[in-house]
Symmetry: none
Subunit: 238 residues, 2 copies
Amino acid sequence: MTDNSVDILLVEDDRRLADLTAQYLSQNGFSVAVEFRGDRAMARFNAERPKVVLLDLMLPGTDGLTLCRELRQIFDGPILIFTARDSDIDQVIGLEAGADDYVAKPVDPMVLLARTRALLRRTEKTESRDSIADICLGGLRISDAAQEVWLDGEKVDLTTQEFELLCLLARHAGKVLSRKEIFRLTRGIEYDGLDRSIDGRISKLRRKLNDSATAPTRIKTVWGKGYLLAPDAWGDSV
Amino acid sequence: MTDNSVDILLVEDDRRLADLTAQYLSQNGFSVAVEFRGDRAMARFNAERPKVVLLDLMLPGTDGLTLCRELRQIFDGPILIFTARDSDIDQVIGLEAGADDYVAKPVDPMVLLARTRALLRRTEKTESRDSIADICLGGLRISDAAQEVWLDGEKVDLTTQEFELLCLLARHAGKVLSRKEIFRLTRGIEYDGLDRSIDGRISKLRRKLNDSATAPTRIKTVWGKGYLLAPDAWGDSV
DNA sequence: CGACATTGTCGAAATTTGTAAACCGAGGGG
DNA sequence: CCCCTCGGTTTACAAATTTCGACAATGTCG
């Protein structure tokens, strides 16, 4: 899944600084991709799939803060803002925009490295849920390897896309996934805001899993947000 | 939810600064415990079980850095160091010692708050999986995981927003929440002062929970302030 | 008791979702 | 090559949910 992706996406318009920083990070074991323009950053993010994003705020094209908010919609990993704008209120705004850290320029690359490491230390600890054996939730068993799903001992016949969607929801059981995220993670393209294919697939999935839209026990709708797979709310293990 | 534990443990020997900081954090919805001595910090941590630790480095008793490393052995949650020692190398050492963030004194409490929130945002996202205890108040049971509400054994059918609102009130049961706060926490936008959607939702919630506006037993109106969810054993004095 | 501010409730308009039916393109026989 | 099937997408419309303003009811203060 997350194979040929770089570790760090560095969004910075000052090329000399960007090169220096990238070089330092590379020397310390990270693979780095550099993007100079704000308006290309999202596309670049999609292409590179980095673990961390280091973001300058003053960018040609899109504003860095806007970028941060957009990124946050589809990216769970750490975002670090580093910028010349350094007032207290700027920091607060940056952090409220969804950034994990905010450092003022000029910044010693060593500090940037230490902070990046601190962020990764925190996120990598929890992200060990990628390619495991089976996922079991209530009467549901999802075999990732065999691409099969069993419900209360009965095998459920799902199409490829239905299976992908169920897997995705299961891997993030209990968390709401927006259509935007679902689009990105299953098809790698941007959600245009009016596509209904996800809804249709959810509808079919619900039928096959004996679930209903009005009183769902497994796949729940969070109005205005997205869908979520309920974790084992059915009594057994906690 | 974790109940009788505080949100934040503040370890700081300057009492005036500690009080000021603690007060500011309290005003913004966090419960805070303050510890002045480094050598008592570990014991205090065990007693309080906070979600976050804010740590000064210059302390009587144990050194802050040592404390940080020890703490890290038994504590997975966020540790934020804030100190007067501010060289780049100090930062790196602090972060390598296991801290999640490092800010230089003097620091605006607003910034400290924003950074604490950023840290909590990141850890709570992943920790919500195993701490899915239900909230129970009188005959009311709110299951955050399953997004379900039960009243006296009967399941109550709520919409997403109604559920969000009830959850919010329940998490702060006994505390008045202004429309401004409710707006910010449920929709992330500012309250314009004349929108009535909250009131409308409260109205519907009351009906579904068999509560009345004129003689409320659960959702009480605090005139000119906002709403609050009454814990069960309550008369009417506020 | 007014004058004013705040809250309760209703319903129309706008937004979002559920779902069935139409559509489309890629195989797979015949 | 044509026809058929199947998975997948798009369209269309109904249903559900939310927003937001109107207006009555209620509370506060002088």
